[in-house]
Structure formats: structure tokens, C-alpha cells
């Protein structure tokens, strides 16, 4: 019996010794930037296909575009990058870009007009999800020979009608405008896919970094592009690691095992503010949090009801409690810093007013369903809405589901109320105006699932035409004015209640400088970082 115990205790002792001897740690290496980020949304990094937040971060650091944003001065708008300069034809339909000399891809090949033409044509021809950003200008696989043309060191694109130049160029700063290395890509072509399969997991760009590995749901590793024509970045390696939990990201941050944590919730941010050696970066992003009423619902389609619910949101309390620091009140569909953005947020929680409006609409005791994606902050917003709606006699039943599940119902016009987020696809006001306030055909048959107005069966009450007009206005100020007018109308009449705009808060180690998250218009830059 005694022996039995001895064996047992010995085991315990050995185990505890082994445990205790594992405690040695170092900081991250000087030339490596380690970022904790949820990257489970990345499905590809081919610029012609990539359409997710984490993916566009990677893309921005790997691919250059004809025009792009300067991370140090986002407000300046698009700046020349691969294009040295451009000129617009008299009819306003053609833009000719002159390609800069001396730019080189990571493969060592020079960046030529041919590459630019190939990249843009490829993005159209592949017809992947984001291709609409280009095809809205009338480009299609059939007319590429006439619309996107290269000659010598220039590339000319011709749109189907006149558009605001700023609109076209803003679209080219989106991920899909990334220029790829034609030779390398076509060398890896399989079954006429224009290198799509290869580019999903490899890079062929001229940006400061190149992709060294992507393990889905695990990590993305970038290494400095040795052939980069600009200044070689200080961080020769960037490792983006998938860490799902905010608490885990915070612990990693506190232990100094990572340099940047990008998915911290407001409470963990608060906790980290007090931690030694950690700094918080706030950047206003373009994402909006909104809810929308399905106009197929007989009660919800009443104007007074649409207006009433806008007074049933406790904007202030949410902004200052669980959304603290991460969202700011925004009641217009153009995010702050966008062209045409307005700073009018007239709605506050006003139960009595809402009750009055509901009474005018003859609505008493309403029970509706709200669909929410399984994400904590959205569920909390939904619960807060549930609370305030109840005070005006509206019962809100929350249905939580996976993103795909809820979205599926939203797209098929099946939800009473959808609560979710919307991020601009490219840094031009039309990206949001064209989806919130634009719905040329409201029938079920139209199946315009890409338009938020259609998803809510809203015929926009004349805003569609105004939006179409705004996108053709080439005068910048006039254009901004037109959007202000659309938004004023939209605020009062639309079934959309836009509530908040996202502020991204990232925690960085004190020694990390010049990390830019991309503001409302673009994605994060790592090449600027020093430490």
C-alpha cells in the first residue's frame, strides 16, 4: 500500500516540476510585428476576389494600385501610386493613366502598363463578388478590348457614361484595383482561371510586403518585398495571428507576446489603458451599425412607424456603456470623413414622441422579429432595443443565428427587422448611397439582393433618381450637397435607422509607432510601422 502512494506522489511531484520549469519568455523580435486579429473571414487573397476586412488589410500591404491613399494623410483623398498622372477626356468618359517608371514586382519583373491592363481586365473577366465595383462603369467580359486599353506606358479606361472622376478613382483604390504581376500569374494559370487558384494563397504584387504563408483560421505571415521600389519597411516580418477571444488578445498583450491587438472589446480596452507599456489607438472606420424594417410588413411600412422607431433607440446610453469608445452615434448613411457626410444626428430616445407617432399610425401592441448575427455587441444592442421598444408597446423577439443564416433570410426579404452592420466597399459616397437609397425595381422578381433598399422592399420614394444623378455630378462640392439632401430625406423617411459608426480601437505596445488602421476609407498599413 505504501508503495502505491509513493509512486503516486512521485508522479505528482514530477508533473509539478515539469510544469514549473517552463517559465521563460522574451519579447517579440525587433524586426517583426506581431498582430492579433480575427482572420477567420479570409477566404482568398486574390485582389480580384478578396472582399473581407482582414483580407483587404493583407491586400493593402501587398498590392499597389493605380491610385491610393497616403496613410499619413488619408483626408487628402486618393493620390497617384502606380499611375504617375491621369487625364480625363472631354466627354468625361475616358481616363488615361500614365504608368510610373521604376516600379518592380516582388518577382523582380517591372510594373508595366500591360500588367495594369491585365489586372483590371482580369478583375472584370473573373466575375468574382467584388467585380461589381468595376462593372458598374459598364465594363464587361465582352467589351474589355474597348473599355480597358493599354498603349506604351499608358492605360485608358472608358466608362459607359459620364461619371464623377472622383467616383471612378475612388473605386480604383478598392482592393479590386490591386495590380498583379501578369507574367507570374499567368505562369500559374490552371484551366483558364487567370491564376485565380494560385493567387488565392500566393501574392504577386509590387507592394512593400509579400505573402509568405496563410494558414486559414491560424495565421498570415508577410515578409518584406526585397524588390520594393519604395523605402524598405522597418518590420521585415509581419505575423497576423488569429486569436478569437478578446480576453485572450488582452492577455497576450499584457504578457508582451504580441505587438498589436485589434479585436479588443471596450472593457478590455479600458483594462489595458491602465497597463504598463501599452497604448490605445482610436481610428474612426467606415462601418455603420443600423437596423431596418421590412416594408412588406403591413405595420412597419407605415411612415409614422418608421419614424417612431428612430425615437426608440437609447443612442446615448449605448454609446456610453457597452459600446463605449468603440462606436459613435451616426444617423446618416455616409460615414464621417466621406465626401458628402453630414453631422446631423437629430434622434434621441423619446418614448412619448414615439408613442404619439405610433398612435397616429394606429399601431398598438406590435410583435416583430429581429434577426441578429451571433456577435456579442449586436446581441447587446438588440437587447437594448428590445427593452426600449417594449416601453412603447412593441415586442421585439430576437433570433440569433450564424452570419450566413441570418443573412440568407435577409436577402430573401424574410425578416421583419434586420440588425447589422454595413461597411463601404470603396471610399466613395456612392457605395452607401447606391445601396441604402437606390432601388430601381422593387419587385421580388428583380432579385436585387445586393441592394439594402431592395432587401427591405423599400421603393426609396424618389431617392433612387437623386442618387443616380449625384453619381454623375463631377463638381465635388455640388455632389456633396446633393448627398446631404438625399441624407436629410433619407433620415426622415427611410425604414433604416442608422445608429452608430465604428471606431476601431487597437492596443499597441508603447514602442510601436505609425500603425495606421485605415480610417473610414481604406485598410491598415503595416509597412509604416517602426518600433
Amino acid at each position: 500500500m505504501i508503495n502505491l502512494y509513493r509512486v503516486f506522489y512521485r508522479c505528482l511531484l514530477a508533473a509539478s516540476l515539469a510544469f514549473a520549469s517552463l517559465t521563460s519568455f522574451a519579447d517579440t523580435p525587433d524586426d517583426t510585428l506581431v498582430v492579433a486579429l480575427r482572420i477567420d473571414d479570409i477566404t482568398t487573397i486574390d485582389p480580384a476576389e478578396s472582399f473581407e476586412f482582414a483580407g483587404s488589410d493583407v491586400s493593402r500591404n501587398v498590392y499597389q494600385k493605380l491610385v491610393n491613399f497616403d496613410p499619413f494623410d488619408l483626408d487628402a483623398g486618393y493620390q497617384p501610386e502606380i499611375a504617375e498622372s491621369w487625364s480625363v477626356s472631354a466627354d468625361g468618359r475616358s481616363i488615361t493613366f500614365t504608368i510610373r517608371d521604376g516600379l518592380v514586382f516582388s518577382s523582380g519583373n517591372p510594373v508595366t502598363a500591360e500588367d495594369v491592363e491585365f489586372s483590371l481586365r482580369r478583375a472584370v473577366a473573373l466575375e468574382k463578388t467584388p467585380s461589381f465595383i468595376l462593372t458598374q462603369f459598364g465594363f464587361s467580359a465582352e467589351n474589355l478590348d474597348e473599355t480597358i486599353m493599354q498603349s506604351e506606358n499608358t492605360v485608358t479606361i472608358t466608362t459607359d457614361k459620364r461619371y464623377a472622376t472622383s467616383f471612378v478613382l475612388n473605386c480604383l483604390t478598392a482592393t479590386i484595383g490591386g495590380i498583379v504581376d501578369k507574367k507570374t500569374v499567368m505562369a500559374n494559370e490552371v484551366n483558364g482561371d487567370m491564376g485565380n487558384a494560385w493567387l488565392k494563397t500566393n501574392s504577386a504584387g509590387s507592394g512593400p510586403y509579400m505573402l509568405s504563408s496563410w494558414k486559414p483560421n491560424e495565421s498570415v505571415a508577410l515578409t518584406a518585398n526585397p524588390n520594393f521600389s519604395g523605402q524598405i519597411p522597418a518590420m521585415s516580418r509581419v505575423i497576423i495571428r488569429h486569436v478569437q477571444e478578446s480576453a485572450s488578445q488582452r492577455l497576450l498583450m499584457e504578457r508582451g507576446d504580441i505587438d498589436v491587438a485589434r479585436n479588443l472589446n471596450s472593457d478590455d480596452i479600458k483594462g489595458l489603458r491602465d497597463a504598463d507599456g501599452v497604448r490605445i489607438i482610436d481610428e474612426l472606420r467606415g462601418r455603420l451599425m443600423y437596423f431596418a424594417l421590412n416594408q412588406k410588413h403591413p405595420e412597419l411600412s407605415k411612415l409614422k412607424v418608421r419614424q417612431a422607431v428612430k425615437y426608440l433607440v437609447d443612442y446615448k446610453a449605448m454609446e456610453s456603456s457597452f459600446l463605449d469608445g468603440q462606436y459613435v452615434i451616426q444617423q446618416n448613411f455616409l460615414p464621417r470623413t466621406f465626401l458628402g457626410a453630414v453631422d446631423e444626428n437629430p434622434f434621441t430616445l423619446d418614448i412619448e414622441k414615439a408613442k404619439g407617432l405610433l398612435a397616429e399610425a394606429n399601431v398598438d401592441q406590435l410583435e416583430i422579429e429581429v434577426g441578429v448575427r451571433e456577435a456579442q455587441e449586436r446581441i447587446e444592442i438588440a437587447q437594448s432595443l428590445q427593452n426600449t421598444f417594449a416601453q412603447a408597446g412593441i415586442t421585439l423577439n430576437i433570433t440569433v443565428g450564424t452570419g450566413k443564416q441570418i443573412l440568407g433570410r435577409y436577402r430573401s426579404r424574410d425578416l421583419d427587422v434586420y440588425l447589422g452592420a454595413w461597411g463601404p466597399d470603396y471610399p466613395d459616397p456612392h457605395t452607401n448611397a447606391g445601396t441604402f437609397a437606390y432601388n430601381p425595381e422593387n419587385s421580388d422578381a428583380a432579385n436585387a439582393t445586393g441592394l439594402l433598399a431592395w432587401r427591405n422592399s423599400w421603393d426609396t420614394g424618389g431617392l433612387t433618381e437623386k442618387t443616380a444623378a449625384a453619381v454623375e455630378e463631377s463638381d465635388r462640392d455640388k455632389r456633396a450637397e446633393m448627398y446631404a439632401e438625399i441624407q436629410a430625406n433619407f433620415r426622415e423617411t427611410s425604414p433604416f435607422t442608422i445608429m452608430f459608426q465604428r471606431i476601431e480601437q487597437a492596443a499597441v505596445q508603447d514602442n510601436v509607432d505609425n500603425l495606421f488602421l485605415g480610417g473610414a476609407t481604406t485598410a491598415a498599413t503595416y509597412w509604416t510601422v517602426t518600433k
Partner: protein, 344 residues
């Protein structure tokens, strides 16, 4: 000669029946998964084309995936491919599912193996001791430890463990399998970092990997220990009250000989089944543990795939997990034959 032939035939027929029953089980498994995948209200096409796609793009992908064909036709295509070792490409990232599984499975295997080892090494003696000393303080303590293990939500324990041992004390590594700068240092052979680092004779990486794995493995080990302790205890109690134990005592054997030499030998078979089951459930991937510890294992892989309607990945993962389960069952049956002479 004839006897030998007969014996051979017997083994052959047994092998064939075993194989057939595995095949049927696997087919059923595939069918169920497949049906689930098809009736799920998550649209795999949408998962690919994204929410802004036009109807034409949608239709193209719909046909490309073969979703327009009758479900049985789809299923038979799938079976045909699986028989050729092809699980198809992940709908989401277009990489072969088999490649993904080969990447995530070793992570789970490593974690589960270490976990089950801890569970067996601690749980078995604890169970034996508490059976032998039924009612004593050590029995009470062992039972309590096991009960706590049975009753504690793992995600809570995991987060707390991470907070205390990593966040505050800094005794162990944080989430993930390695510290970032140790990644990609050693060549991937088995995919299990502990093993790979031993092969590469890289002590530093080994230590780092160990520091990362020890906490989640202890946690899983604790849960399997709770189960193993409890089962060992009840098996031992049953054996200790049997007559041959009395015989052994009459022979004048010491308690240790009676317990380990006689009683324990008789519970080996049952214990193997318990351990195999426990191991199988760990290999299924403890989704919650994997999420909390950012462990890129098969559990979270299949779950993520399921939630994003990546049916090829779900089917592939399920087949692999089902195969493991079936294999472990067969293995425990084989060991049964070795350890229990009565089964021959």
C-alpha cells in the same frame, strides 16, 4: 492442416464482417452528414459568392456545385470521390479539404494524446486507490476531484486557467501552439510540434511548444481523468468483491499483488474501452477548448466550416473523426482479445 484452414477461414470471415460493418457505419455517417448539409438553412452558394453577388453569379455557382442535381446523384458523386481519397475543395478557401485536415488534425492529435496520457497516468492510480480504500479520506478526495471535473464548465475553467497561469503567474505559454517567433523554425514532419521538435532536436522549440500545450492538455487531461477515475473505481470495486480476489488473499499475497497483479489485470479490458472512448471524444476536438486557446484543431475547423456552410470541409472532417472513432473501437476490440482470454 484442415484445422488450420478452418481457423484461417474463420479469421477471414471475421475480417470481412468487420469490414462490412465499418463500411456500413461509414456510409451511414456520410449520408447523415450529407443530408444535414443539404437541409441546413445556410446557403453554401451564398457562402461563396458573398452577399452582394448578382443572381446570375449565384446561379452559375449553384450549378457549378452540382446543387441542381438530385440529392442522391450528388451523394453518389461524393462517395465516388471519397473512395478516391478526395474530399473535394473547401468551398470557402478553395483548398483541398484533405490538405486542411492534414494541417489541423495533428494539432488536435497532439493535444488529445497529451491530455489522455495525463488523464490515464493520474486517473488510473487514483481510481484504484480510492476503490481499495473505499470510504477513506483519499477516496472522498478522489471522488470530489472527479465530481468537480464532471461538473465544471470547461470554457470557464479554461479562461480562468489562462488568466491565472498565463496572465498573472506567467508559468505557461499563452494561446496558440507556439510563440510567434518560433513558428516555421522546424520542418513539418508529423505536424505535431512536440514530435517534430524532437526529430529536429530543437530543445528550445520543444520547451516553447510544451509551455503552450501544457495548460489546455492539463485541462482536457483533468476532464478525462475525472471520467477514468470514476470508471476505474467502480470497475475495481466490482473486481475486489469477487471470489478470485479472496483466493489471492488466501494464497498470502500482499495487498499490492492482489490489487495490481490480480484485480487490475481483470479491469484492463474494461479500462481500455473507457480510455478509447475518452480518447475518441478528445480527438473529436473539444471545440470550446480550441477556441479559448486559439488552438487550430479539427474541432474548431469542423465547427467553423459548419457555421459557414462549407459542407465539403464538414463532410471531410466528419469522415475523419468517424473513422478515428471506428478505428479506436476496433483497436479496443483487438486489445480486448489480447487481454481477455475468454474472448477467444
Amino acid at each position: 492442416m484442415e484445422g488450420q484452414q478452418l481457423a484461417f477461414l474463420k479469421i477471414l470471415s471475421k475480417a470481412i464482417t468487420t469490414f462490412i460493418s465499418i463500411a456500413i457505419t461509414m456510409l451511414g455517417l456520410l449520408l447523415v452528414t450529407f443530408v444535414i448539409g443539404r437541409v441546413m438553412p445556410i446557403d453554401p452558394v451564398l457562402a461563396i459568392v458573398g452577399e452582394r453577388a448578382s443572381q446570375a453569379t449565384y446561379d452559375a455557382v449553384y450549378n457549378e456545385l452540382g446543387l441542381d442535381k438530385p440529392i442522391l446523384v450528388q451523394f453518389s458523386y461524393y462517395i465516388w470521390d471519397v473512395l478516391h481519397g478526395d474530399f473535394g475543395d473547401s468551398l470557402l478557401n478553395a483548398r483541398p479539404v484533405s490538405e486542411d485536415i492534414a494541417r489541423v488534425f495533428p494539432a488536435t492529435l497532439e493535444l488529445a494524446t497529451l491530455g489522455i496520457l495525463l488523464g490515464v497516468i493520474l486517473g488510473t492510480p487514483l481510481g484504484v486507490i480510492s476503490a481499495v480504500r473505499q470510504g477513506s479520506w483519499i477516496d472522498q478526495v478522489a471522488r470530489f476531484i472527479a465530481l468537480v471535473g464532471y461538473s465544471m464548465p470547461i470554457f470557464w475553467l479554461g479562461l480562468m486557467g489562462l488568466l491565472i497561469f498565463y496572465g498573472i503567474l506567467g508559468w505557461v505559454g499563452g494561446p496558440g501552439r507556439l510563440d510567434i517567433f518560433f513558428e516555421d523554425i522546424i520542418p513539418v514532419r508529423t505536424g505535431m510540434i512536440l514530435v517534430d521538435s524532437i526529430i529536429a532536436q530543437n530543445g528550445v522549440v520543444f520547451r516553447n511548444a510544451l509551455s503552450h500545450i501544457i495548460l489546455p492538455a492539463s485541462l482536457l487531461g483533468y476532464y478525462s481523468m475525472a471520467y477514468i477515475t470514476r470508471m476505474t473505481r467502480s470497475f475495481m470495486l466490482e473486481q475486489l468483491s469477487s471470489e478470485y480476489i479472496l483466493t489471492a488473499r488466501i494464497k498470502g499475497l500482499s495487498e499490492r499483488q492482489v490489487i495490481w497483479g490480480h484485480a487490475f489485470k481483470n479491469i484492463r479490458v474494461q479500462l481500455i474501452t473507457v480510455i478509447a472512448l475518452s480518447y475518441a471524444s478528445l480527438l473529436e476536438g473539444s471545440v470550446l477548448t480550441e477556441i479559448i486557446f486559439s488552438w487550430p484543431g479539427i474541432g474548431s475547423y469542423v465547427t467553423t466550416a459548419l457555421l459557414s456552410a462549407d459542407m465539403n470541409a464538414v463532410l471531410g472532417g466528419t469522415v475523419v473523426i468517424g473513422l478515428i472513432f471506428v478505428c479506436l473501437n476496433i483497436l479496443s476490440d483487438l486489445l480486448y482479445g489480447i487481454f481477455d482470454p475468454r474472448s477467444k
